[in-house]
């Protein structure tokens, strides 16, 4: 089978001149049996030398020495590691092709309050970026609109689709809100006085409250039949009040998190904190309110000059210790592919290995409400998994040999591999 993969790669190189992307995988007729791998099931521990059988897009069976069904494709993966497909939270994948070229950027709608926009509608399933991200084991990505206040709705995409409708795993999955600044901007270019800044922060908060009060009044008026006109914005926000949509609040500063918790308690929303740089400082409150965190800075500089150099690296360990439910994210587009390494780095700074794997598989699935289908290796779940020659969290181990999404094998080639192979030919010819 390894040879086959090579042939696929070489053939794609040969039609490079036309190729801009690789073809999505097709559903196999027959069962696929992966034999003899080390399975990181996430929910049921690590299973050595275990087989996993995939059929009709589902994990049909997990066990040792499974019988080979009639006509099944058998892949020997002994010595290799199997993980659930990695889920990248809080990305702009498919919304951005080249960040500095405006025409290729579909992240920010105009205005402060744009709850009506849905990221999946702009998701470019043919983005050249996506195959390079899959290459590092990511099968799914939450794509999120950007913006200064009420951003719009995110969706969960699987990363091997013909178009966005094909790629849509679940959508929308959440309403996104950028929490107003709660502290002072201490950047050198900020010229407003601390007083003026505090006042501006208050005003932003007031504006936010007004927005939600209006949305709530709209919802109630519609329920009561008192309003016949449709407002796209408030209509989009009704799902928050009916409890059908979670609220993802992007908040990093401690004071933002405190305010966000209070705010949500008042409105009764189902809350997720995204970013969560200071979440460890409010760990108890988050646990008590049962609010999960999508921690967005597993790499990165300390945000304050006096912070410990490893603040970002060691925060996941602190959250885990305090019992906060959290996922690790690597917000961005092309660089989201470093997600697994970032989780590995958190391990270097104290996070338990299994917790790190959970933070990029099961924890995101749970936050997105797809834990019945995704995020762990369990019989009956979607056959979405990756096979790596070594430890997926370590640069020295990660080497994805197979990826399956919903039982379909994913072609791991990509633009960068193709360029590599093309110029290898030039070097070799020399």
């Amino acid at each position: 089978m390894k040879k086959l993969a090579c042939v696929i790669a070489l053939s794609s190189a040969s039609f490079f001149a036309q190729a801009h992307n690789v073809t999505p995988g097709s559903s196999p007729e027959q069962a696929v049996l992966l034999q003899g791998g080390t399975l990181y099931t996430v929910t049921q521990g690590t299973l050595q030398n275990t087989d996993i059988l995939m059929l009709d897009g589902k994990i049909a069976e997990i066990g040792t020495g499974l019988a080979v069904p009639e006509g099944a494709r058998v892949i020997d993966i002994s010595g290799q590691h199997v993980y659930p497909g990695l889920i990248a939270m809080d990305t702009t994948l498919g919304l951005v092709e080249m960040s500095q070229i405006r025409a290729t950027v579909d992240t920010n709608e105009v205005g402060l309050v744009t709850p009506e926009v849905m990221a999946h509608q702009a998701f470019n399933a043919d983005s050249e970026i996506i195959p390079t991200v899959r290459y590092n084991g990511i099968t799914h990505a939450q794509v999120v609109p950007q913006g200064p206040l009420v951003r719009g709705q995110s969706s969960l995409m699987q990363l091997d689709g013909w178009n966005w409708q094909d790629a849509l795993e679940k959508g929308p999955v959440g309403m996104h809100l950028t929490w107003p600044r709660a502290g002072l901007n201490t950047a050198w270019w900020e010229r407003r006085s601390p007083e003026a800044q505090r006042k501006a922060n208050e005003e932003q908060l007031e504006r936010l409250r007004d927005t939600f009060n209006t949305a709530k009044a709209y919802h109630q008026a519609r329920l009561a039949g008192a309003l016949n006109r449709v407002d796209q914005r408030w209509e989009a926000m009704r799902a928050l009040f009916t409890g059908d949509l979670k609220l993802f609040i992007h908040a990093d500063d401690r004071r933002q998190i405190v305010q966000a918790l209070e705010f949500t308690r008042e409105f009764g929303f189902d809350l997720v904190i995204v970013g969560g740089r200071d979440a460890w400082m409010e760990a108890d409150a988050l646990v008590e309110a049962d609010v999960p965190v999508v921690f967005g800075a597993p790499y990165g500089l300390p945000s304050r000059v006096d912070d410990a150099y490893d603040m970002a690296f060691s925060t996941p360990a602190k959250l885990a210790e305090a019992g906060v439910d959290f996922a690790i994210a690597y917000p961005g587009f092309w660089d989201t592919r470093n997600l697994a390494f970032a989780a590995g780095h958190a391990v270097a700074f104290g996070l338990d290995y299994d917790a790190a794997i959970t933070a990029i598989t099961y924890a995101p699935a749970k936050i997105l409400g797809v834990e019945e289908q995704l995020g762990s290796l369990q019989t009956g779940k979607q056959a979405t998994l990756i096979v790596s020659k070594g430890d997926v969290l370590d640069h020295l181990g990660q080497s994805i040999t197979y990826m399956f999404i919903d039982g379909r094998e994913v072609n791991l080639s990509n633009r960068q591999r193709q360029l590599y192979e093309k110029y290898q030919e030039r070097l070799n010819a020399d």
């Binding site: 960040s99 500095q100 006085s193 200071d278 000059v305 150099y309 092309w334 270097a348």
Partner: protein, 1039 residues
């Protein structure tokens, strides 16, 4: 014995008509000739003639605006107007050596702001400089005029004299020292032409160049060299015609005699200014920032004299919970220690004067002087900083700053000790008094007894800002109303009906002696009665006579003073240790490969031996490194940490004269953070905004050292060049479409042209050297051109190029151009498409330093691949990984590991990409880059395979000194948190007093610089608009 107040003493000195006594010299008199007497004697005074010199019971005699004599026998000359100054102290008038009094401020061009189109040249008129920020030819006496309102703000604090110029631009012109008297300029000007004022800030100049601190320094250097050349060229001819007339350069001749007063924004700028002027052997006097205490020894060693704004910072507002999240320990420390800055400087023997310049509130001047005294500055030192020292700085030491015969009659009259709780009652300017307070003020507070119409009344008065009181008979009392006070006279009304005297009575009383009020009252019938009110003894407030002693106070600090003075700073440099490191896995990054269970002997900062089971030399510290991996210190070929005020001089297309070495910022916390990631050497590069940028500077991350001591001096000179989108200004907006080049064609051509000029320049210099002595006497030497000097060095392989580059075409074009010019590109940096032209690069002899995996942020990065390093190495190109990011610089090990991940690179080779290979690219591989005997003991201890995601740095050593230790770091966090809480408590306990002072008097963090960050650090507009601009480079930087 109560003193009898002199009646209305100041009233006698009704202000004489300004300049009337002196108008006669050249101004024809219109109308009558005035001859007011000017002979005045202030008797019985205490004279502080200069710091440390005090004469009691003396008489100061003044006449014609000068001090005529000081009489110790306390006799006034016949005919003098005598003023009894018993109980008063006379000080010399204060001198502010840094001001813009009486000089019109610079106009603001309409062409500023974000929407302004870039200007690259100066309008030339009258022999001015080619740069709009150079005003050296201006003589500010020539437009000087007295300005009554502006003078008042000085005089009320005791100042009589200022040195003044327009505070605008880099060379600002010659200041003038003037009296603050309201008189004709002809009489106010004491010294017409004094010091040349200067700064790094280009001020009102709308010319693009310079837009960075290093650009300003380069411009100063070039201007000083030009001035020298101009002097030498006078009377000679040049190869290109006659020597131009240049008033700006002419004005800079003899700058040492003129003296330079340089405005610095912080102590690093102060040192930078001192250094660039020292290259031309010109000492400077620097206007300080209040941060001098934090780099005291260096400032002392620079020999710079100081002018200190007496502005202390207000504490950050911490009244709300969690407000401290926005506050750094560095700021809290500065709040606590800034008032001690003058005392610390005085103790170190650094000479300084005070200035009112830069004070956010001038009303804070005296409270701050006293605060400085309370923090240990002696009163004599404080007085010297206001009189004798600024007199020298302002070029008037022979006539101002002391009370002595022949000196200007500029002095002040004070009640009490000014440096503890006294007050200035009047200031004399050129022999004429400006009254601030009544010389003999009355405080009428007290309880008085008086008899009215036979009744015994008690009058209670409170005389604070407002006068209030009541009249009573027995238990019955009535409040006073309409109460007012002028000098010693009080007027009030009272309805005395309740006291048995129907109607409203109107009183008018005058203090005839302390404790005695005399006057009249008009009753309800309009009749007038005499009143004589006598105070009960002890009820009046005695005038405070608290002289205070001169013993220096000792301040008590809860904050630390570290190097640099920020969180995680060091209290002292780490000591150099001789080491025996045992039993580690040693990644040598040389031919020895990876050695298991190996020992390293470190002697005198160098690797002495590497091997197994080595014996411990006597006296060596043994470190058991079992389970540890040791690698050489990581070397980053492309870094922008530790740089102040601009990474790009992105104005003109060629700025090879600028030097990152001029703006190394040793205070940057990223130095420490990078050490914590195992990085020991960083090549600090100019940005990528122009085809030929500035000169690079390699540093060792010696956290705590000075900017100079951080420099890795053995590194051969380097320079940044750049190609592609950034230099052709593709992403700069529509206004930036005028600078050549705008295409990759133009980029290649302008580089070719620049080097052609350099060749011709070198030839011209050689031709001059070859002239006969006689010819040389007639011929002006070639002007030193620092821009071309750097290019000549490149042509001669004395300076190595590091070229920001992305796409194949531009790389080939540059190699083609320089091969024809006869030199080779040393290292291509970023070189994202290097894999496409790796063979050509190898043939050319170029090296490569690239990002591990960045791509897709712009079109020229769309063919970047993470396999680039493997392909280039395979082709035989020496390849390294660089960070170009203060974040990635902390984990370059895993950046290198990406080549293992993506293209299976050998692990030891991958490690060499961040150690040995970048050392070769910087030509420092003789010293660093591998664990080889004889090289620097720059070592990193890891707790895991050094390329693994799980590796954590435990220790980082530079030359046998331990600069980072994980365990120490954990302890430092604790200590820092405790210090922070103690400082917060101190701020909170100080209450509102902590909030007094300047809110913006803190050092701002230097931003995270990126290759393409290019803005004018001198323009205000930037700050106002920058937050609209997408600066965050959401993907860690756009390069």
């Amino acid at each position: 014995m109560k003193r009898i107040a002199a009646l209305c003493s100041s009233g006698i000195l009704a202000v004489t008509v300004a300049w009337s006594s002196a108008a006669g010299q050249t101004t024809p008199v219109q109308g009558l000739h005035h001859h007011n007497p000017t002979l005045v004697a202030l008797t019985n005074a205490t004279l502080v003639t200069e710091p440390g010199q005090r004469i009691e019971n003396a008489t100061l005699v003044i006449e014609h605006g000068k001090i005529r004599s000081i009489e110790r026998n306390n006799r006034a000359p016949a005919g003098a107007r005598v003023i009894d100054a018993s109980g008063y102290t006379l000080y010399p008038g204060f001198i502010d050596p840094y001001s813009n009094y009486g000089v019109e401020a610079a106009g603001r061009s309409a062409n500023t702001g974000r929407s302004a189109s870039p200007e690259y040249t100066n309008e030339r008129e009258g022999g001015n400089a080619s740069n709009m920020a150079i005003h050296s030819q201006k003589d500010w006496y020539s437009t000087f005029k007295a300005d009554t309102d502006a003078a008042k703000a000085y005089v009320e604090h005791g100042f009589t004299t200022v040195q003044s110029a327009r505070l605008d631009g880099i060379f600002q012109g010659r200041a003038t020292t003037v009296s603050l008297a309201d008189t004709l300029p002809n009489y106010a000007i004491y010294q017409a032409r004094t010091r040349q004022f200067a700064s790094f800030d280009k001020g009102s100049s709308t010319q693009q160049y310079p837009n960075s601190l290093m650009g300003s320094i380069a411009l100063i250097r070039q201007t000083l060299a030009d001035a020298r050349w101009y002097g030498e060229a006078q009377g000679k001819t040049t190869g290109s015609g006659r020597v131009e007339f240049n008033a700006a350069l002419a004005a800079l001749q003899n700058l040492t005699e003129q003296g330079v007063i340089f405005h610095s924004n912080n102590e690093q700028d102060l040192l930078r200014a001192a250094r660039v002027f020292a290259e031309f052997e010109i000492p400077i006097t620097a206007v300080g920032s209040g941060f001098e205490y934090s780099r005291l020894d260096e400032i002392k060693a620079s020999g710079t004299r100081l002018i200190l704004p007496l502005d202390f910072p207000a504490a950050p507002d911490l009244s709300e919970q969690f407000a401290e999240l926005d506050v750094s320990v560095a700021d809290l420390r500065h709040w606590e220690r800034a008032p001690a800055n003058p005392a610390i400087l005085a103790e170190a023997g650094i000479e300084f004067a005070f200035t009112l310049h830069g004070m956010s509130k001038r009303g804070d001047f005296w409270p701050n002087v006293r605060k400085a005294v309370a923090h240990g500055l002696s009163k004599d030192q404080a007085l010297a900083a206001l009189t004798t020292i600024p007199a020298r700085f302002a070029g008037v030491a022979g006539e101002s700053g002391r009370l002595a015969a022949g000196y200007n009659a500029d002095f002040l009259v004070a009640r009490g000790d000014l440096f503890s709780d006294g007050e200035i009652v009047s200031v004399w300017l050129q022999g004429e008094e400006t009254k601030l307070k009544p010389m003999h003020p009355s405080n009428l507070s007290g309880t008085y007894s008086l008899v009215l119409d036979g009744a015994e009344l008690t009058l209670e008065l409170t005389d604070n800002t407002r006068i209030q009181g009541k009249l009573s008979v027995g238990d019955e009392s009535v409040n006073l109303f309409n109460a007012s006070k002028t000098d010693a006279r009080v007027r009030f009304s009272a309805d005395l009906t309740d006291l048995g005297m129907p109607g409203v009575f109107r009183f008018s009383l005058n203090q005839s002696a302390i404790g005695q009020l005399r006057g009249t009252v008009q009753d309800a019938m309009g009749r007038v009665h005499a009143i004589n009110a006598q105070a009960d003894s002890d009820s009046t407030e005695a005038a405070s006579e608290n002289g205070g002693d001169d013993a220096s106070a000792v301040a008590d600090f809860v904050g630390q003073l570290t190097f640099p003075n920020v969180g995680f700073g060091r209290t002292e440099a780490p000591s150099q240790q001789n080491l025996h490191i045992r039993n580690a896995t040693v990644w040598t990054a040389d031919d020895q490969g990876i050695l298991e269970n190996a020992d390293i002997i470190v002697r005198s900062g160098l690797i002495h031996r590497v091997g197994q089971n080595l014996s411990t030399p006597r006296g060596y510290t043994v470190i058991d490194a079992s389970g540890m991996h040791i690698t050489p210190g990581i070397i980053d070929e492309h870094s922008h940490i530790a740089i102040s005020a601009g990474v790009n001089e992105g104005t003109e297309a060629i700025t090879s004269e600028t030097r990152i070495g001029d703006v190394v910022n040793p205070d940057d916390i990223h130095i420490y953070r990078s050490l914590a990631g195992g990085t020991t050497v960083a090549h600090l590069l100019h940005g990528s905004a122009n085809p030929i940028g500035g000169q690079g500077q390699t540093i060792k991350l010696r956290w705590g050292a000075s900017a100079e001591d951080m420099k890795f001096t053995q590194t051969p000179p380097t320079i940044k060049m750049a190609l592609g989108e950034n230099v052709k200004q593709s992403n700069w907006g529509d206004l930036y479409r005028v600078r050549y080049p705008q295409t990759r064609m133009g980029v290649a051509t302008i580089i070719q042209d620049a080097f052609q000029q350099a060749r011709e320049y070198e030839q011209a210099k050689r031709d001059y050297e070859n002239l006969s002595r006689a010819d040389r006497r007639r011929t002006a030497p070639p002007r030193t051109d620092y821009r071309l000097e750097a290019l000549v060095e490149i042509l001669n392989n004395d300076r190595h190029t590091h070229v920001h580059s992305y796409v194949a075409s531009e790389v080939l074009a540059l190699m083609d151009v320089v091969e024809r010019l006869g030199f080779r590109i040393h290292t291509f940096t970023h070189i994202l498409e290097g894999y496409k032209v790796a063979n050509e690069m190898r043939e050319h002899g170029a090296r490569a330093s690239s990002f591990a995996d960045w791509w897709a942020f712009k079109i020229e990065a769309f063919d970047a691949i993470p396999h680039n390093m493997c392909l280039m190495m395979e082709a035989g190109v020496l390849t390294s990984i660089n960070s170009d990011s203060n974040d990635l610089q902390r984990r370059m090990n895993t950046e290198a590991a990406k080549s293992v991940r993506y293209c299976g690179m050998d692990e030891h080779d991958a490690l060499k990409m961040i150690t040995y290979y970048p050392a070769q690219q910087l030509e420092i591989d003789r010293y660093v880059g591998s664990i080889t005997p004889g090289k620097h003991a720059d070592l990193v201890f890891w707790n895991n395979h050094p390329l693994s995601a799980y590796a954590q740095v435990q220790q980082t050593w530079i030359e046998g000194r331990k600069y980072f230790d994980r365990a120490d770091d954990l302890a430092k966090r604790e200590a820092l948190e405790q210090e922070r809480q103690a400082l917060i408590q101190k701020v909170l306990a100080a209450g509102s007093e902590a909030q007094r002072g300047n809110r913006s008097n803190y050092r701002q963090q230097q931003p995270t610089w990126h290759c393409e960050d290019n803005h004018d650090v001198w323009l205000d507009w930037f700050g106002e608009h920058h937050h609209d601009h997408h600066h965050g480079h959401e993907f860690g930087g756009a390069h």
